[in-house]
């Protein structure tokens, strides 16, 4: 798993790897080792690596999903699925670029939101002043054990045009939008208030992947904001646990020592807790990043990409192209491009968040 935080052990870095002739006893031991890991390795190979290789093969085919992809009935089309996804101007590339834009905003706001919220929750339930901590731990963790389908349906009702959210907003004089039908990006809405309704020439004319910069910079749509709120709420409980574990690893003596030295509560938090929590934070960001890019079920239940494709995500395109249009090759290609995006972004994120040594 990319998610586990590893550190180079000093020994591993200083001792050069040397190949020595293996003695008979060692050989026996090595075989025993393989025997013991064999069940896990077999399961991994059969249910993880083999399907990945199969999917990679499918992404090179024009396969309708109605025969075996290995029987030779499906035509081999090389990289043309990837080409129509990334290079050729058309509906598929347009949809895919929109979905990447949507998901970029989704990831940005969701990861930020979930890290902040779950950290705050963890601090709260870890604090000594809070009464009934175990009760609150359970309450905050509750969304995580509820099915995402149930949560999605609940949010659908909350965010209806005449739903609870808008009723509450109306109490303070705000005329709430029809959340799941409003396709406008929030940045565009804000710019509209400032009098900028149409795209400035440079932004409208410059296109990246067939989508104008103006459209790239739309911000998440109102509907997407509701989705983001849903995910932040639903996943914060799980990540709270990660943070809680990290917080409980911090020795109380350190806090006390800092307090005796005269550090204020903020200083203790800023210079002690945050620094010691670095590994937890990096871990949570990594996990949240990966799961955000794969967002599917909420979209599938709540919006199916509507309104105006502003909640379209790569995972949903992969599904619709495969099962809706019978283009499983395209669907697999989308999945692999998504895989590549996740790998690259996770590496970048881990590089940024790496532990630097003085």
């Amino acid at each position: 798993m990319t998610a586990t935080v590893t550190r180079d052990t000093p020994a591993g870095r200083t001792r050069p790897v040397r190949r020595r002739p293996v003695s008979g006893y060692r050989l026996q031991e090595r075989r025993a080792g393989w025997l013991f890991v064999a069940p896990a390795v077999i399961v991994l190979v059969v249910f993880l690596f083999a399907p990945i290789v199969m999917a990679a093969w499918v992404s090179l085919l024009d396969w309708n999903g109605q025969s075996s992809p290995f029987s030779g009935e499906a035509e081999f089309v090389g990289l043309s699925n990837y080409q129509s996804l990334l290079a050729d101007a058309g509906l598929l590339r347009g949809d895919f670029m929109l979905s990447v834009r949507n998901t970029l905003y989704y990831v940005l706001f969701n990861v930020t939101g979930v890290v902040v919220l779950s950290f705050v929750l963890a601090l709260a339930v870890n604090s000594y002043v809070l009464r009934g901590r175990s009760f609150f731990r359970t309450v905050f963790y509750f969304p995580a054990i509820t099915s995402s389908v149930a949560i999605s349906v609940l949010f659908l009702f909350l965010f209806q045009g005449s739903g609870v959210v808008n009723v509450v907003l109306s109490w303070v004089g705000i005329d709430g939008p029809t959340w799941f039908t409003d396709p406008r990006g929030v940045l565009h809405i804000v710019l509209g208030w400032a009098g900028v309704d149409a795209a400035p020439g440079a932004l409208a004319d410059t296109t990246v992947g067939g989508l104008s910069l103006w459209n790239w910079l739309s911000g998440p749509s109102v509907a997407m904001c509701a989705l983001i709120a849903l995910t932040i709420w639903a996943s914060s409980g799980t990540f709270m646990l990660f943070f809680l574990v990290g917080l409980q690893d911090i020795p109380v003596e350190l806090e006390e020592a800092a307090a005796i030295d005269g550090a204020s509560a903020w200083q203790r938090f800023r210079h002690l807790t945050l620094l010691l929590m670095r590994r937890s934070i990096v871990l949570v960001i990594t996990l949240a990043l990966i799961s955000s890019w794969q967002v599917f079920d909420q979209v599938f239940i709540l919006s199916q990409g509507a309104p105006a494709k502003t909640t379209l995500t790569p995972a949903y395109i992969s599904y619709v192209r495969s099962f809706g249009d019978g283009q499983f090759g395209v669907g697999a290609a989308v999945a692999f491009v998504l895989f590549a995006i996740i790998i690259v972004l996770t590496l970048v994120q881990r590089w940024v968040g790496r532990e630097r040594r003085a």
């Binding site: 006893y25 026996q28 075989r31 025993a32 025997l35 064999a38 069940p39 077999i42 399961v43 059969v46 249910f47 309708n64 999903g65 109605q66 025969s67 075996s68 992809p69 290995f70 029987s71 058309g90 509906l91 598929l92 949809d95 209806q160 045009g161 005449s162 029809t178 799941f180 039908t181 396709p183 990409g305 509507a306 309104p307 105006a308 494709k309 619709v320 192209r321 099962f323 809706g324 249009d325 019978g326 283009q327």
Partner: protein, 426 residues
């Protein structure tokens, strides 16, 4: 522990690997013998051996599931075969898994928009020539399941769009039965009359189905008759979209989502609109969710191209890989026989696919008569594989049209371009 006994180790590993491989690879091996479209030798109906059939349905609910179970049980009792009915959670996905794995259910629902994908893929066993009294089934429904001049499967029900009217709002606006709109001008004018504070005259789901019915009445459609060319960007379609746009701008037409209703039925039921356009499925939904709403359904008003609508249907598909094709055909003939279709209509409300039952339907269920009228001239949904994404994009264009960000010309041009891209790949 110096010496590991090697032979048991090797055997254990081999067994474990083989078991795992067999578990996930079983489907791929048997698919080679299928796909030929020939009835298998071992068919239960021929040899007299009892066959065991699996029937997979995309059920609308408990009533439908029970009705199908009871009907298939009657057939099983008569013929001595066995039938298992599986209500699918996601029919298309589960069918695809069956096809890809080479072990699909014997009998299953097929919708027109998926039909051609399955037919082209060689997954369906064409049994059109074995359907009893096939001529009695509406031509438009048979057309929906005809591929390369061959009827593949028997339509199990049918229906068209109708104009559903809130009769209380209708009477309150001073309108009578004589005012039921016959053409688009009248439709626009009654919609205007019915529009009031918090209520639009006509609201319908803003997707390609009702808009497609309008296009048909306007003399156009998405594709030509044999679905080989995209005919989106035509003057007829443009006039249709402009008609809709004008009335939406006037505030008397609306897409249901824009007035905070999920679909046309909810718009009408909740009183947010006085009229809507839906198929026969609205009957049950209104009875369940809005039992107090008084309504009636009349045929779609005629446009410049005459009276027309999209036809909605499903057929009983038989898998090309099925080992019990003869028995399955026998079961289908049993299920689409007039008596059984009547039983289905009474149990959960589908409109029979047989023209011979039209009068019976109109007498027994007068409220549903409009959903069966004009079935002869209706057009089936677009069946071109890959058109789902194209039409989904058209839905987005329609949303834009309702919001005023997309012109009708742009919407049709996008549809034309995207549709042509799919058809040239065919």
């Amino acid at each position: 522990m110096r010496h590991f006994p090697r032979t048991p180790l090797a055997v254990a590993t081999a067994v474990a690997t083989a078991t795992l491989l067999a578990a996930c690879g079983s489907g791929f091996d048997d698919s080679d013998d299928g796909g030929s479209g020939e009835p298998s030798e071992a068919s239960g109906g021929d040899t007299g051996e009892p066959a065991s059939l699996t029937v997979m349905i995309g059920s609308s609910g408990e009533a439908e599931t029970v009705a199908v179970q009871e009907a298939t049980a009657r057939w099983a009792d008569e013929t001595g075969n066995e039938v298992e009915v599986i209500p699918a959670q996601d029919l298309v996905q589960q069918l695809q898994q069956g096809f890809a794995g080479g072990n699909p259910p014997d009998l299953f629902y097929v919708s027109p928009d998926r039909f051609r994908m399955f037919a082209e893929g060689g997954s369906l066993y064409p049994y059109g020539d074995q359907i009893e009294d096939a001529e009695d089934i509406y031509q438009s429904l048979r057309d929906a399941f005809t591929y390369e001049d061959e009827l593949y499967c028997a339509p199990k029900d049918g229906g068209v769009h109708a104009l559903v009217i809130d009769t209380e709002a209708w009477a309150a606006a001073g309108l009578t039965e004589a005012d039921y709109p016959q053409d688009w001008d009248q439709l626009a004018s009654v919609a205007q009359t019915l529009t009031a504070d918090g209520r639009v005259g006509l609201a319908f789901t803003g997707d390609y189905n009702p808009v497609g019915s309008f296009m048909l009445a306007g003399g156009g459609f998405f594709v030509n008759d044999d679905q080989t060319e995209v005919t989106a960007d035509t003057p007829e379609n443009l006039a249709t979209l402009e008609y809709l746009e004008q009335n939406m701008d006037a505030g008397s037409f609306a897409f249901a989502p824009n007035i905070d209703a999920a679909w046309g039925g909810e718009a009408l039921g909740s009183g947010k609109s006085a009229m809507t356009i839906e198929g026969a499925w609205i009957v049950g939904a209104l009875q369940n969710d809005f039992p107090d709403r008084q309504w009636t359904a009349v045929p779609m008003p005629a446009g410049p191209g005459g009276q027309a609508s999209t036809a909605f249907t499903n057929c009983w598909g038989i898998a090309a890989d099925s080992e019990n094709q003869a028995a399955a055909v026998d079961l289908v003939n049993f299920l689409i026989a007039p008596e059984e279709q009547q039983a289905f209509a009474e149990a959960f409300g589908p409109i029979p696919s047989r023209a011979g039952l039209a009068d019976w339907n109109a007498e027994t269920f007068p409220e549903k008569a409009a959903f069966a009228e004009g079935m002869e001239t209706a057009r089936s949904q677009v069946a071109v594989p890959g058109f789902e994404s194209v039409l989904a994009d058209f839905n987005t264009q329609l949303e834009g049209m309702a919001a005023g960000t997309v012109t009708p010309e742009q919407a049709l041009q996008a549809l034309q371009t995207n549709g042509e891209a799919v058809l040239t790949q065919e």
